[in-house]
């Protein structure tokens, strides 16, 4: 195809990749300018990654729930706010067609104080409880170890919890709310911006920790009813039937709706979104300035060449195209190493800050679009010099 073009169209304006040659003419300068643009790209990627990581952290446990529908109080405003209901309220759901089972999920965000094993301080933690015979979680580690929760006062702990809680160590015993608990195993979940660590336990242990009476877990109010449907059941139809059957104070959400519910809360009420968007915007502006500087300097250096091209009869349109091509190429050349470096940065910061930082296709495309945008915008600002290049004046 390219060979074809050279044979049939001797016109050099098609066959000479001028933008590319301009770019690689001075390797040292190319490295310098790519580094400048690349670090601005890294800045944007890191900020965007934090923003995503923040949301992913708060959605982490929701994604690990093994349910098609979720029954909760209609007055609940976020996943992690205690607003439980009486367990017997779930009885009304028993007759609804299409349901394979409903697992009551108990949760506490304000009531469980975990003592650092071997330490003297106690910290608020997130706790989930369920009947060990029917786990409402997808976490394979939790499901493999759920039988151990049948022992009295046994808990599973999150070994990715914040280190000061001491959940990752090999301690076998500590106290929650002053009561001795046995650490029967661990799973990997990770903290979010509200809770520093998570424990899982049986409903009986939960009742013991909160009420002192482990023999009547049914008296403890439930946070969620985790509903599994029969294969082939229509989620929307069951959701409607469930809503009609349950008391008015309860609502039923599908899993995507529950995720959207939490995402909306975080987006509306937390400061994290605006902080990281602002960081991304600053990265964009900095990147634009760097690329403007790069392109402006390149153009200034190559002004005689551009004027010569003009003198030879090439139109302004061609020159403009070259400049934009060159800008797009430098964007891509800078983007690749920045993207690779970012993988490393995500890995290191993710491990240190216990934040789920993942490079996704969406993140890659968004940052590539921003990079191209800033370089092309910078080219648009700098291009006046080429348009006004006067062959007669340049020499």
């Amino acid at each position: 195809m390219a060979e074809d073009a050279i044979v049939t169209v001797p016109d050099t304006r098609r066959s000479v990749p001028l933008a590319w040659r301009n770019l690689v003419a001075n390797k040292r300068r190319l490295i310098r300018s790519s580094a400048g643009i690349g670090f601005a790209v890294l800045l944007m990627l890191v900020q965007l990654g934090f923003e995503r990581g923040f949301f992913n952290a708060s959605l982490g446990v929701i994604r690990q729930l093994d349910g098609d529908l979720f029954i909760m109080r209609a007055s609940k405003y976020r996943f992690g706010a205690e607003d439980p209901f009486a367990r017997r309220d779930l009885d009304a759901a028993n007759g609804v067609a299409g349901i394979a089972g409903i697992v009551p999920l108990y949760a506490a965000w304000q009531d469980l104080f975990w003592q650092e094993p071997g330490g003297d301080k106690s910290y608020l933690i997130q706790g989930f409880a369920f009947d060990p015979d029917r786990s409402p979680f997808l976490l394979p580690e939790v499901n493999e170890q759920r039988d151990r929760l049948k022992q009295q006062d046994a808990v599973l702990v999150d070994r990715r919890a914040r280190p000061f809680l001491g959940m990752a160590g090999d301690a076998r015993e500590t106290t929650i709310n002053g009561r001795t608990v046995h650490i029967a195993g661990s799973f990997a979940l990770g903290p979010d911006f509200m809770s520093n660590g998570t424990v899982m336990m049986s409903d009986r242990t939960f009742a013991g920790l909160l009420t002192g009476n482990r023999d009547n877990p049914a008296a403890v109010p439930v946070e969620f009813g985790v509903v599994k449907l029969q294969p082939g059941a229509d989620i929307a139809a069951v959701q409607q039937a469930l809503t009609a059957a349950l008391p008015k104070e309860l609502r039923v959400l599908s899993k995507p709706q529950l995720i959207a519910f939490e995402t909306n809360f975080q987006a509306d009420l937390s400061s994290a979104g605006p902080i990281f968007w602002m960081g991304t915007f600053v990265g964009f502006v900095v990147g634009m300035l760097i690329s403007y500087q790069v392109i402006y300097t390149d153009l200034a250096d190559q002004l005689p060449q551009y004027a010569t091209l003009k003198g030879m009869g090439y139109g302004t349109g061609y020159l403009v195209r070259i400049v934009f091509e060159q800008a797009a190429l430098s964007a891509i050349i800078a983007f690749v190493p920045a993207w690779l470096l970012c993988l490393l940065v995500y890995y290191v910061i993710g491990a240190l800050a216990l934040l789920p930082l993942h490079m996704t296709l969406a993140l890659t495309l968004l940052s590539l679009a921003l990079t191209l945008g800033m370089c092309l915008l910078a080219a648009a600002l700098a291009i006046r010099r080429v348009i006004t290049a006067d062959p007669a004046e340049v020499f």
Binding site: R32, S33, A35, G36, F39, A40, L42, L43, V46, Q47, F50, R73, S75, K76, Y77, A81, D83, Q110, D120, K121, S122, Y123, L124, R162, F164, P191, F193, N196, D268, L269, S271, P274, I275, M278, G279, V282, G283, V285, V286, L289, I290, Y292, Q293, V294, Y296, T297, V345, I349, L352, A353, L354, L355
Partner: protein, 376 residues
Amino acid sequence: MPLHVAWRILNHQKGRTALALGGIFVAILLIFVELGFFIAVPQGGMLIYDHMRFDLLVCSNKYIFQAESWQFPRDRLDEIAKNAGVAQVKPVYLGGAKWQDPGGGLRLDIAALGSDPQAKLFAAPEIDSQIDVLERPDTVLVDSQTRPIFGPLQPGRQVEISGRKVTIGGDYDLGTGFLGLGVLLANEANFFLIFPMRRPEAVNLGLVALKPGADPDQVARELRSVLPNDTQIFTRPELSSHEVSFWTTRTGTGLIFGSGLVVAFVVGIMVLFQTLATQITRQLPQFATLKAIGYSSAFLNAIVLIEAVLVMVIAFVPALAVAIGIYSVIRVQTLLPVNMTAALLGGVFATTLVMSGISAFLSLGRLRRADPAEIF
């Protein structure tokens, strides 16, 4: 003399210098924004304390941070009051309540602060002027930075706080800090009506005001020696460093904003280096000529270094002005106490000086290429 040359170089091509200044301006601004977040985000934990009147804070030895303060026996406050340096001791009660409109709707978490209105907990005239409102039964004041999801906060609105009907008596504007989405103030009697399970004998915080001239460190030492180890005493600076270090080191906050700061630092150096290197390349013939005339390499290096510092200092002024503007936007958008303090200003200035030093050092390599024999 190198200063003079550096100044002449900058003055020679004003357009190019303006371009360089623009780049450095943004680099400095970047540092201001990232350092602002790095400092301000953990400071959110001090927001409420900053508005409280006290010289020493008494709290449980189990105290983690403001919202996880635990409780200690109220009797300890009587013991503290016996110290010769202590003028007044005020108990503060803290609790997490549920806020709901009587007509239904969401049950939202709100932090409640209970105290004797006459004790004038806060250095806030707008609260002091509403003492009679606070004294009314089942009446609370609400922080006006309580999030919009709570609905209108106009005086006279009835809300249910943990199931109890309460009237909003008025509002005040201190900020919610890291206590949550909303904060309300109640007198002690109303606080215990909202929290029927709580006893006045178990206090969350004790605010100690000292007599004029008393040394906080001295009194703190004396109190520590007489109090049992179920309580601890913080001076204001100790409390500040405790809260800030909790948020910086115990949560992801420090790492997240710290790494933002590091990336900003590197980007800033890249911008500065890019700018300086371009300038030097443009003036390579001039530098080579100076060399040929007999000026030493040290002299040329000094010119570059001074040039770097000069552009940085000049760009610092508009960056500072814009940063002050951005801070006010951040304050409104994120409700964080991002303020231009002398320490922050000095910190950014020092950081940018280091950055221009590093970038000047990096671009000196280019200067060595100034060979009088080759240039012409």
